[in-house]
């Protein structure tokens, strides 16, 4: 039987957390509808952002560390940090071995144009974990496991250089009301993430016997808790405080930073790493949707995207050869075109 999608956003029915009512609208859209009258009053404003950064400006070698993936959103965040807010920036890029050259080129061009101090970190530390996840058939989400790693790494870098602010390029679709990462990040207890969150926790719990990963955090909350004990960096994204959509900032970074859209990426119009294709295929198989469906559904509710645009961008019909080329170094092979 074909999965039913919410008539307003792009989330599928997914028991027990996401369910559609008699009008075909999901519980998340209904909840949003109820909150709507207060939306104007509770919206984050740019002055909330400037208030925070002004508390920290000029007190350390760097005012902020900007997480740069080479994608449009993080490149725009770097642009804002340097040009709009005139912060002394430490640009930081990490590569687990699956970043694309196009994305890394975008980062290099941006930091050169903006004359930002640039730190890059390449590691194969996660490769065995990704391989183990695929081979085990665990429904854990690769991107969630990776996020736990890179957030831990980012916090350590912020500690190493004594940076008070970590700036990410997360969109309004990646924002939740629960301040998990001290004012930011995914709320894994939210209905749309509950099953995924549990699976990731279970998978990571099973790694404790592996000496290489015995100290690996079991959840994003644990990453934050550990970081807060060592060095209090505040993590936030300028996109949450600004009224601009990608339609508005992409032309700016294209013109001013030479940012380029990669030929191949998922979802369309993004710059995600190659491993993302596998993560998406994996999540679709186990849940019928991905964290991108969650993000775009939020953007639809905020009026920043239409359902049709989201469906177009989320269309996933990956070439098995592409998937197997990426999975090859992990010692994994997808059986056929349809299955993972």
């Amino acid at each position: 039987m074909e999965t039913r999608l919410c008539g307003r956003c792009v989330l599928p029915e997914s028991a027990p957390d996401i369910h559609l009512d008699s009008q075909g609208v999901c519980n998340l859209c209904r909840d949003h509808e109820k909150r709507r009258p207060e939306a104007g009053a509770s919206r984050l404003l740019e002055s909330d952002f400037t208030k925070i950064i002004e508390k920290h400006r000029g007190r350390h070698e760097f005012d902020c560390l900007v997480m740069c993936s080479g994608g449009k959103d993080s490149t725009a965040a770097l642009y804002y940090a340097k040009r709009r807010y005139k912060l002394n920036v430490l640009a930081f890029t990490f590569d687990h071995g699956f970043e694309t050259e196009e994305a890394l080129d975008n980062v290099r061009r941006a930091v050169e144009t903006l004359d930002a101090t640039f730190l890059t970190y390449r590691s194969t530390f996660m490769r065995d974990m990704f391989a183990r996840l695929l081979k085990s058939g665990s429904p854990a989400v690769i991107c969630h496991v990776c996020a736990i790693w890179y957030m831990g790494l980012t916090y350590r870098m912020a500690e190493r250089f004594d940076v008070p602010l970590i700036i990410a390029g997360w969109t309004k679709g990646q924002m939740t009301s629960q301040p998990v990462l001290t004012k930011c990040a995914c709320n894994l207890a939210a209905p749309e993430y509950a099953r995924m969150g549990r699976a990731t926790k279970d998978f990571l719990a099973g790694l404790k016997d592996d000496p290489k990963y015995k100290d690996f955090p079991g959840s994003i909350e644990e990453v934050v808790a550990r970081a807060q004990k060592r060095h209090k960096s505040l993590v936030l994204s300028p996109h949450w405080f600004l009224p601009y959509s990608a339609d508005e900032y992409v032309p700016v970074i294209e013109k001013e930073l030479g940012w380029r859209q990669p030929r191949l990426s998922y979802p369309a119009k993004t710059t995600n790493c190659a491993l993302n294709f596998i993560s998406v295929q994996w999540a679709l198989k186990h849940y019928g949707y991905t964290h991108y469906h969650v993000e775009m559904s939020k953007l639809i509710r905020e009026g920043l995207l239409t359902r049709e645009e989201a469906l177009e961008q989320l269309r996933a019909d990956f070439d098995p050869e592409l998937l197997n080329r990426i999975a090859g170094p992990l010692g994994f092979r997808f059986p056929d075109r349809t299955g993972a």
Binding site: R8, P37, G40, A41, R43, L45, E46, S47, T50, K51, I52, I53, E54, K55, R84, Y85, K86, L242, P243, S245, D247, E248, I300, G303, L304, L305, T306, R307, E308, E309
Partner: protein, 563 residues
């Protein structure tokens, strides 16, 4: 060189922000539009964020912030007025002081903690801010300036003079002798909300006779300098209780319960108040004309929103030209404070002409998404097609929501956030009321007319671009414009020039081509009790929840099923 100043007005009613750069007005907006709460009075965080973003700057790029009053002076007046009526004012004193101790007295600290701004802060006297808001964008090289409102720090009326970048206040009348407070007191006596119902009372006045005028004159006697005094035995402005005393009720009869029936006595009271207001304003302006010998007059302050009185001033004060700033009330204080700093202190050149379209715009991509997500069928049209289609619907008696370009600054919809109708239709007022607005039956709707055709329809010399004058409809045209004619034969006209608002001008011209009448009914795009729409989402919500026939938002045209 210092260039960018952010003007703020807040903590009383209708808070707002305005950004000026090198003497030009970049953006201005009222907080109510963002919070969706009429007359929002708090710190205008949303409005100032919008203004800074419209100027492509952040708070860090500002050279100064200008506030529209001097808080310590105002506090002195508030304390004194409470002491005058102690101990009756104890409750009000306790409530008022809680607000004052919040952040009114510590604005620089508040700007630092709320925004991260630590630059220079200027405090401009309330009525000087009003005067600056009227004179600097007026386009007059030299003018007399009159400000009239409820009360600022102490002043309630000021008379002054502007020339070039210089502006001075020559004399003032002081609290409690206040025409604005008198109007508000009678507004509340008539059962309407203060700061909201004054326009309603002005509209009601045309239905009555000024039978109480002599008695009102008795309690508001004139003074030798052309001013007036308020007999305090009749009014109580000490706190947040009733603004009139039992003596007032004894003399004029029981007050009207809000929402209760309106009788002849209420209409007569409104007419008497309006007549007295016009008398006083005429006396003040005639005196100012004699004193300054200026040919031009600038008006601001909440009382300057009284378009019927403004028309009398234009007709009879002796001034040849009168400029009333579109946000003449307290929201305009943000513009005035910024303008005073920009022009008087920093010497930047003055703008040649003021546009009221200073608020947020909405991009085509955003509108398309909002309409799509709302499940509405729409067509994207060229400007010519959009105006033709809209004009054709109007000519068929349809009610159209018209949201275009940047939102208006000030209380009037001037063709960018408007609900439009056919002024020839005898029932158009009722139709708009039934389908969307649900206003009191007696309140008139206003006409917007091509500036070049205005004299054919109205007894109007010059322009009325901000809908702040109410000339008479020409006798022979009264039957042509039944939907906008008030019982006294006047109409609150907006004249539309192509240079000021090309799209709205084109729409009215298209309607004129179809009907021979280049006039449309123009009322603010909102539901009763709500502020004017700001964003496309709000326009769509009003369209969906009302029985409006069509919606023209940006280049997109939506028709309700069955039209």
């Amino acid at each position: 060189m210092t260039s960018r100043v952010l003007g703020l007005s807040c903590h009383y009613h209708d808070s707002a922000a305005c950004l000026m750069e090198a003497g030009g007005i970049v953006a201005a907006a009222q907080e109510e539009r963002f919070l969706r709460r009429k007359n929002a009075s708090g710190f205008p965080l949303h409005a100032l964020n919008y203004c800074l973003q419209a100027g492509a700057i952040t708070v860090l790029d500002l050279d100064a912030v200008a506030f529209y009053e001097k808080p310590f002076l105002k506090l002195a007046r508030v304390l004194e007025s409470h002491l005058d009526s102690w101990p009756r004012s104890f409750g009000s004193f306790r409530r008022t002081m809680a607000h004052w101790l919040d952040d009114r007295l510590t604005l620089p600290l508040s700007l630092k903690s709320r925004l991260g701004f630590s630059g220079r802060t200027f405090f401009v006297k309330h009525h000087l801010a009003h005067a600056a808001s009227a004179f600097y964008p007026s386009g007059f090289e030299e003018a007399a300036v009159l400000t009239v409102d409820g009360v600022g720090e102490w002043a309630t009326v000021t008379r002054g003079h502007g020339a070039g970048n210089r502006l001075r206040i020559d004399s003032e009348m002081r609290f409690p002798s206040s025409l604005g407070l008198l109007y508000s007191a009678v507004t509340s006596y008539l059962g309407f909300e203060v700061h909201e119902g004054e326009g309603t009372v002005m509209g009601l006045a045309a239905y009555g006779s000024p039978v109480f005028l002599d008695r009102l004159r008795g309690i508001v006697p004139s003074t030798p300098d052309g001013g007036f005094m308020l007999d305090r035995g009749w009014f109580d402005f000490s706190g947040d209780g009733k603004m009139y005393t039992p003596r007032f009720v004894e003399a004029f009869g029981p007050e009207r319960v809000p929402g209760g029936p309106l009788g002849e006595r209420h209409c007569d009271m409104a007419a008497s108040l309006q007549s007295l207001t016009e008398e006083i304003l005429l006396r003040l302006t005639q005196g100012l004309r004699a004193q300054t010998k200026c040919e031009s007059l600038c008006l601001a302050g909440g009382v300057a929103l009284n378009c019927v009185a403004n028309q009398k001033i234009l007709d009879s004060s002796g001034f040849k030209k009168v400029f009333v700033q579109p946000a003449a009330g307290d929201a305009g204080g943000s513009l005035g404070a910024a303008a005073f700093v920009s022009h008087a202190l920093w010497g930047h050149p003055r703008p040649a002409r003021m546009s009221p379209y200073l608020g947020p715009d909405c991009s085509a991509s955003r509108i398309r998404r909002v309409l799509t997500n709302a499940g509405l069928d729409f067509r994207e049209l060229s400007e010519k097609e959009l105006c033709r289609e809209t004009a054709a619907r109007l000519a068929r008696g349809k009610v159209v929501g018209w949201m275009q370009g940047r939102m208006e600054f000030g209380p009037r919809a001037l063709g960018n956030r408007s609900i439009l109708g056919d002024p020839r239709h005898p029932r158009m007022k009722e139709i708009i009321n039934e389908r969307v607005k649900r206003r009191e039956e007696f309140r008139p709707y206003a006409p917007a007319v091509l500036a070049e055709a205005a004299r054919d329809f109205f007894e109007l010399e010059g322009d009325s671009p901000f809908m702040l004058f109410a000339p008479r409809i020409r006798e022979e045209k009264k039957s042509v414009l039944p939907a906008v004619a008030h019982p006294d034969g006047s109409a609150r006209v907006q004249t539309v020039r192509e240079a000021d608002n090309p799209r709205f001008h084109r729409l009215i011209a298209s309607f004129g081509e179809l009907t021979g009448v280049p006039v449309v009914v123009n009322t603010s795009f909102n539901r009763r009790g709500e502020p004017m729409v700001c964003a496309a989402e709000e326009a769509v919500a009003v369209f969906k929840e009302s029985r409006m026939d069509c919606l023209a938002v940006g280049d997109f045209f939506v028709e309700r099923d069955g039209n």
